[in-house]
Assembly symmetry: C2
Homo-oligomer: 317 residues x 2
């Protein structure tokens, strides 16, 4: 038997057929076009699922055990209802029920970061560990919590909003409305913001020259590349950014002391060296002087964003 | 059958006989005298236990099912070893084994805040809820996490160090060595510190007059009392303090979204009104617009510090 995993994201809906080892056999995407009616989005999602099953020469009813959907928002996994998603503007949207209009097999839903965390804990970086966390660092910061080998949801299925814990009271404005959230310092957006400011202040910097003075071209990679080439301004930015990332992780460790935190999202592309630098600070600054084998490890996620598709097929039903 | 609960604190060791409903029938304390040898402390603890059992006319072997000990530090509850306690200076101290030299019944140990949380979740403010947290706010800030009706320990049994999550990067020095921890703003020690500074700056304030100009007499109650009497300086202190307390709680809610957080410790003495003020901010500022019945409630703990004794008798063995 195979399972079908869906990554229901803001820009794309991607569906994949996943085998029992967690390998994606075939996948395909359609644009989400999120401002459409909910019904229309789900209709296209269902048709995408049906199409790739046919394309791979399988029969939905006979060969596919279930469809798992990882969604950008808070999901009541018991009912498959998206309770709340600020980005979609949905409230109490019955995703599973709507899908069932098109398919007869079980449909289960969960939050995308939860699916990511589940996939990592089954076949990825945190495999074999009992209590783990994944944190995706990209334009935003999200997270998934695995406790006792299962997803920890929180009372309204919204646990794991690590990006929205305040690290600087009254600090930088965050998209969520509060000020000083971790995401406002440790997301790649925050890194780009700080790099742009630094570049403009120092036109002599490599940071400025690498984007030919057009700071709109600044990416989260630029300061890392400039720092590697010796630019002191980029080094200053990266040093501060590394501290911000570590600070939030230390907060998480002091509260939850998981066996490991695996970092996913865009920042993965920067590579293991950055994770090592972060890990060093976390090790030094975490509360309590525990022995090496009793300290939370900061790891890099093994899987890329397709982990959402894989994890969705690992949801319990 | 009865159980014997012990609160192994820095200043006192208190033992109590607890019945099946969680009621303390008799209790007695001895000074900890923490700078003594570990063996001597435990010897006195065992004798205290034996003494109160005899005093209550019971037989240790026949009438007492187990001894549960709530300890100030990180405890490996599987083995009853205190892995680490910065305040005692212990490392890998075999509390249960040492106790077993004096008694034949089972001895189980856990962290004191965990015992507190367990007692509240069984017979106190968070009774009937599945995922809850208690946070004690006093000279320090500690916490216990209940997930799925059981204590969540963390990998080195040190989870729940809520007081040592940073809310102001580079802020006030914390006793733990880092700067800007929540405890450095929201503990009663922090409140007293800020009240003293304010009093000295404003000798015309009620805050100053209430301690007759001797700021050493400032207690955590003074600013609350002065604010109630209309002192604008005390009001400013209390307003800021309320925000700090709420800020840390919001961070916890955004990460863990428990059904409730119950506040214990010295701050309980200030009363429900303070908890209500905190709750209002938490409700307003928590991430995500959830409906009323899907929001974490901030409650006051039902039980006082004896909850540690009660909770210790509820530990699993």
């Amino acid at each position: 038997m195979y399972r079908l995993g869906v990554n229901f994201d803001l820009t794309y809906i991607t569906a994949g057929i996943v085998d029992e080892t967690g390998k994606i056999l075939i996948k395909e995407s359609i644009p989400t076009l999120k401002y459409r009616k909910f019904d229309d989005i789900i209709k296209d999602m269902a048709h995408l699922c049906i199409r790739i099953v046919n394309k791979y020469g399988l029969d939905m009813d006979k060969d596919i055990e279930l469809i798992g959907i990882g969604c950008y928002g808070s999901i009541d996994w018991h009912t498959g209802v998206m309770i709340y998603s600020s980005y979609f503007g949905f409230r109490n949207a019955p995703i599973a029920d709507e899908m069932k209009k098109y398919v007869k097999i079980p449909v289960i839903c969960d939050n995308d970061a939860n699916c990511y965390a589940l996939a990592e804990s089954r076949i990825g970086a945190t495999k074999g560990l009992k209590n783990t966390i994944i944190i995706t660092i990209g334009t935003a910061i999200s997270g998934g919590i695995i406790i006792d080998n299962n997803i920890y949801h929180g009372m309204a299925y919204g646990a794991g909003e690590f990006g929205h814990h305040v690290i600087i009271f009254g600090g930088e404005q965050c998209e969520c409305g509060r000020k000083g959230c971790w995401a406002a310092y440790a997301s790649t957006n925050a890194l780009v913001r700080d790099s742009r400011i630094m570049a403009v202040r120092h036109p002599e910097s490599m940071l400025f020259k690498m984007v030919n003075g057009d700071i709109r071209l600044m990416s989260f990679r630029t300061p890392f590349e400039a720092a590697k080439k010796g630019d002191i301004y980029a080094k200053e930015i990266i040093e501060a950014y590394t501290k911000y990332v570590a600070l939030g992780l230390i907060n998480v460790v002091n509260v939850l002391q998981p066996e490991a935190i695996a970092i996913g999202g865009k920042i993965r592309k920067i590579g293991q060296e950055f994770i090592n630098d972060v890990n060093k600070i976390v090790d030094e600054k975490t509360f309590g002087q525990y022995e090496d084998d009793k300290r939370t490890k900061v790891l890099m996620c093994d899987l890329d964003y397709d982990a959402v598709i894989i994890g969705a097929t690992m949801l319990k039903h």
